[in-house]
């Protein structure tokens, strides 16, 4: 099914005879959900864009590329740098903004500017009964009623199908530069990322892969030059500065996990404490790309390492199997949390038809 309006989508959900597999572009879907495909890409277009208020209201099926194109026309962008995971997940298709929000897809700048959920100001969605619900709005500060916006961001369609999102956007800064630090082992290379993030120099990216630690700053030209200089002195070692488009290219590689593309094995996405990042990779083995100062690990491992990953991560974060065979994709929740999740699903989707079996 491919409805072309929110009303049509609501009708489709209300009248559904069986489970529905909700899909934006299908570029970042995870898990084993089954059902008739319900595409949102027919519900697209910009509702409202106010560059002077940094707000964009857009229908959920709008292509991410279209959103980025519209923003670039006013020298603005999505602050949370949504990743393109098609290559590592082996997907094709056109990523939609609704899919990005439903997956809370956030890239390197999360350490400074927050995740997709932090940029979401409002949502409209159709719940499992076919009822249209609106929450939040288009203003930066809004505490009127419960915040279902954050709940819907990252909920992967299990509570409702997004039809519209309002986003806080960001001006593209005039300059960026990246400090590339080499010659350090992983433990020392990750420690230097933590040092940078603990400095007052407003780091907007801190990642490591292929033996290099990368530290990014953005802003006005003079400020970027000043901060990158101070950071270079602070972290020491063998460091070079890369600027402009060359710097941007480095961060697209981190964002889209390019270093792990085209390689066989399972891929884990691990969210953890930066200080635990080196130890987890050492314990499991494999090839890692660290982002968020070590707080995010993309780990390419041999198949069947689930038990080792779970043991290494226990009490220090959580791991999702984004590419691999068998086993649960999402980690199990603690029983008292699982009870709340089950209660919410039962109320928002009483027939259990939305992305059944996807999350827990």
């Amino acid at each position: 099914m491919r409805p072309s309006s929110e009303a049509e989508l609501a009708e489709a959900v209300a009248g559904a005879a069986g489970p529905l597999l909700v899909r934006g572009g299908g570029t970042r879907t995870l898990g084993h959900a089954v059902g008739e495909v319900l595409e949102t890409a027919g519900i697209s277009g910009v509702e409202l864009y106010e560059p002077g208020a940094l707000t964009l209201v857009v229908r959920a099926g709008t292509a991410l590329a279209e959103v980025e194109h519209v923003l670039a026309g006013e020298r603005q962008r999505l602050a949370f740098e949504p990743p393109d995971l098609r290559a590592i997940l082996g997907r094709e298709g056109v990523s939609t903004i609704g899919g990005v929000v439903a997956a809370n897809g956030s890239g390197p700048r999360r350490v400074q500017a927050g995740a997709a959920r932090d940029a979401c100001l409002g949502v409209r969605f159709v719940d499992g009964t076919g009822t249209v619900v609106r929450n939040g709005g288009r203003v930066m500060k809004n505490v009127t009623g419960y915040d279902l916006v954050k709940l819907m961001a990252g909920s992967r369609g299990v509570l409702g199908v997004l039809t519209e999102v309002s986003l806080k956007v960001q001006a593209i800064p005039e300059a960026e530069a990246t400090l590339v630090v080499e010659g350090l082992d992983d433990a020392a290379g990750l420690a230097c990322l933590r040092t940078a993030l603990g400095s007052p120099f407003d780091v907007s990216g801190a990642a490591r892969h292929s033996g290099q630690s990368l530290i990014r700053v953005e802003g006005m030209a003079g400020s970027v030059a000043y901060r990158i200089g101070r950071l270079k002195a602070l972290v020491g070692g063998e460091a070079t500065v890369v600027e402009g488009e060359e710097s941007a290219a480095l961060w697209r590689r981190v964002r889209d996990v390019v270093p792990l593309q085209g390689k066989a094995g399972e891929i884990w996405r691990i969210v953890t404490l930066p200080t635990a990042a080196a130890g987890i990779v050492a314990a499991v083995g494999g090839t890692a790309l660290w982002d968020w100062g070590g707080g995010l690990i993309w780990l390419l491992s041999e198949p069947g390492r689930g038990a080792e990953v779970a043991a290494a991560v226990a009490g220090k974060g959580h791991a999702t199997l984004v590419r691999g065979q068998g086993g649960p994709v999402f980690p199990p929740e603690a029983p008292e949390v699982a009870a709340l999740v089950a209660g919410l699903k039962a109320r928002f989707d009483p027939r259990g038809i939305l992305n059944r079996g996807m999350m827990g």
Partner: protein
């Protein structure tokens, strides 16, 4: 303000209920003497008062769980309370309710600079969170005006903001995880120091739920390295429209000041008379603060000056030193006090799209004449969070009601132009009956479902947020 009739059964069983509470608390943990309960009969919305059945002051998560378990079994409503600074009546009790105050739970449990978080008990005050880490060069970003007194528990309940959230976001953007006790005494951990949940973002919906989903006893908060320095400028304009256009141009230019504050003429005059900060006598005034090293501050201010001068300001004043910086902030920080010198006031906090600023200010001026009550506007312009201060005389019969009617009209206007009823204070009882202006029945139903899951008996802070007739069927269960 209408509140539900107290549960007679609970009032009649008061002695037995208090005996059960006493049994699960240390000797000084239960307050039941009428004179001591007066402290808890209202919060910062002082127009409405009601003494509670009792107040409890636990020291641990276990004590909170034990208290809630007793109240759940006895069917007693519980009103959680941080420091009682809510301007919306979020901590106002009913006669049949127990106030659960977290004020004694104020310890720092863990500080971790490498992973940039602090874990605190929720009764700790906002400013003392920064106090615990500032010697090491860190701070906690959300800074509500009441930060000296307000508790993290209340900040989480209301998703509090502050003057600096233009750059750093509000509480929900700086909250990593919580320990939450549900009404039946179940202890739940949501989120954690790593910040991103594996499954549904339940933490995101707990933040801002006004104490209706559970009692937060501990929280992991993000801490940030302190910037090297900060400096404000003051810009005066001859019209609100031009000041609003200047704000928009600054934001569009990609400059991200930490704060852009706006004051209109009535407010400027009142503050000048009170604080003598040396503000120009003009129609509208902006205070813009930027952060960074000396060179970075100069670079940003040069850009702001260039933008502001294109709008023909009547004044552009840069702080040359610490003393001048203080004077620029002096008037803004005295604004509420200055208005209070003139009369009683009611402070609203609707948010509007920045582009609607001139229109909304003009309409407020017209309504001020219609209602015959003066109003001054001082607010966070960068994010459209208004704070109209309506002056009235509490001793004059009918004035409070007139003021409330005026306030309701302003909030309806905020919603009409695409904004919302409350940007940072919360709904509480104050804006409860206006919820239908912003939300449809289905929108409110979706929100109430969340409470059904977390608190099926609707015992936690039950008569708040949703209009009484909307929640009636659920509260009766």
């Amino acid at each position: 303000m209408q509140m539900p009739e107290p549960d007679r059964g609970v009032l009649e069983r008061r002695a037995a209920i208090l005996a059960r509470l006493r049994a699960v608390l240390p000797a000084d943990g239960l307050i039941d003497a009428p004179e001591e309960l007066r402290v808890y009969e209202c919060d910062a919305l002082t127009a409405y008062r009601c003494p509670p059945l009792a107040a409890v002051l636990p020291r641990t998560t276990e004590e909170v769980a034990a208290v809630l378990r007793v109240c759940w079994e006895e069917g007693v409503p519980v009103v959680p309370r941080g420091s009682g600074t809510s301007l919306a009546g979020g901590a106002m009790p009913t006669a049949d309710s127990v106030i659960l105050g977290v004020a004694r739970m104020n310890a720092v449990l863990e500080t971790d600079y490498e992973n940039r978080f602090i874990r605190v008990q929720s009764g700790r005050t906002n400013l003392s969170v920064t106090g615990a880490v500032e010697a090491d060069g860190f701070f906690y970003a959300p800074d509500p005006s009441s930060q000296l007194a307000c508790a993290i528990a209340g900040n989480i309940a209301m998703n509090s903001g502050g003057a600096h959230c233009l750059k750093y976001g509000v509480t929900t953007n700086n909250l990593l995880g919580v320990t939450l006790v549900r009404m039946d005494g179940t202890v739940v951990t949501l989120g954690g120091p790593w910040g991103e949940p594996a499954g549904l973002d339940l933490l995101g919906v707990v933040c801002g739920s006004e104490g209706q989903l559970g009692v937060v006893t501990e929280a992991w908060l993000r801490i940030l390295p302190k910037p090297e320095g900060a400096r404000p400028v003051l810009v005066g304009f001859n019209s609100n429209e031009v000041a609003g256009a200047c704000v928009s141009d600054i934001i569009k230019a990609g400059i991200l000041p930490v704060a852009i504050e706006f004051m209109d003429r009535p407010c400027i005059r009142a503050t000048e008379a009170f604080a003598k900060a040396g503000y120009p006598d003009c129609e509208a005034l902006l205070i813009i603060e930027v952060e960074g090293s000396e060179a970075e501050i100069s670079e940003q201010l040069a850009r702001i000056r260039q933008i502001a001068l294109a709008h023909d300001p009547v004044e552009f004043r840069e702080a040359e030193d610490e003393d001048q910086a203080k004077r620029i902030w002096l008037g803004r920080k005295s604004a509420f006090g200055a208005m209070g010198q003139i009369n009683d006031y009611m402070c609203l906090d609707g948010t509007i799209p920045v582009s609607s600023l001139p229109h909304v200010l003009k309409r407020i001026g017209e309504m001020s004449r219609e209602f015959g009550l003066d109003v001054g506007n001082v607010f966070h312009a960068g994010d459209g969070n208004m704070h109209p201060l309506i002056l009235f005389d509490a001793n004059k019969p009918g004035d409070l009601e007139k003021c409330e009617a005026f306030g309701a009209e302003i909030l309806k206007l905020c919603v009409e132009v695409g904004g919302c009823l409350t940007g940072e204070h919360g709904v509480g009882i104050e804006k409860r009956d206006l919820m239908a202006v912003q939300f449809s029945a289905a929108d409110m139903e979706a929100q109430m479902r969340i409470k059904d899951v977390f608190d099926p008996k609707w015992l936690l802070n039950p008569a708040k947020v949703f209009p009484l007739e909307t929640s009636a069927g659920r509260r009766a269960v």
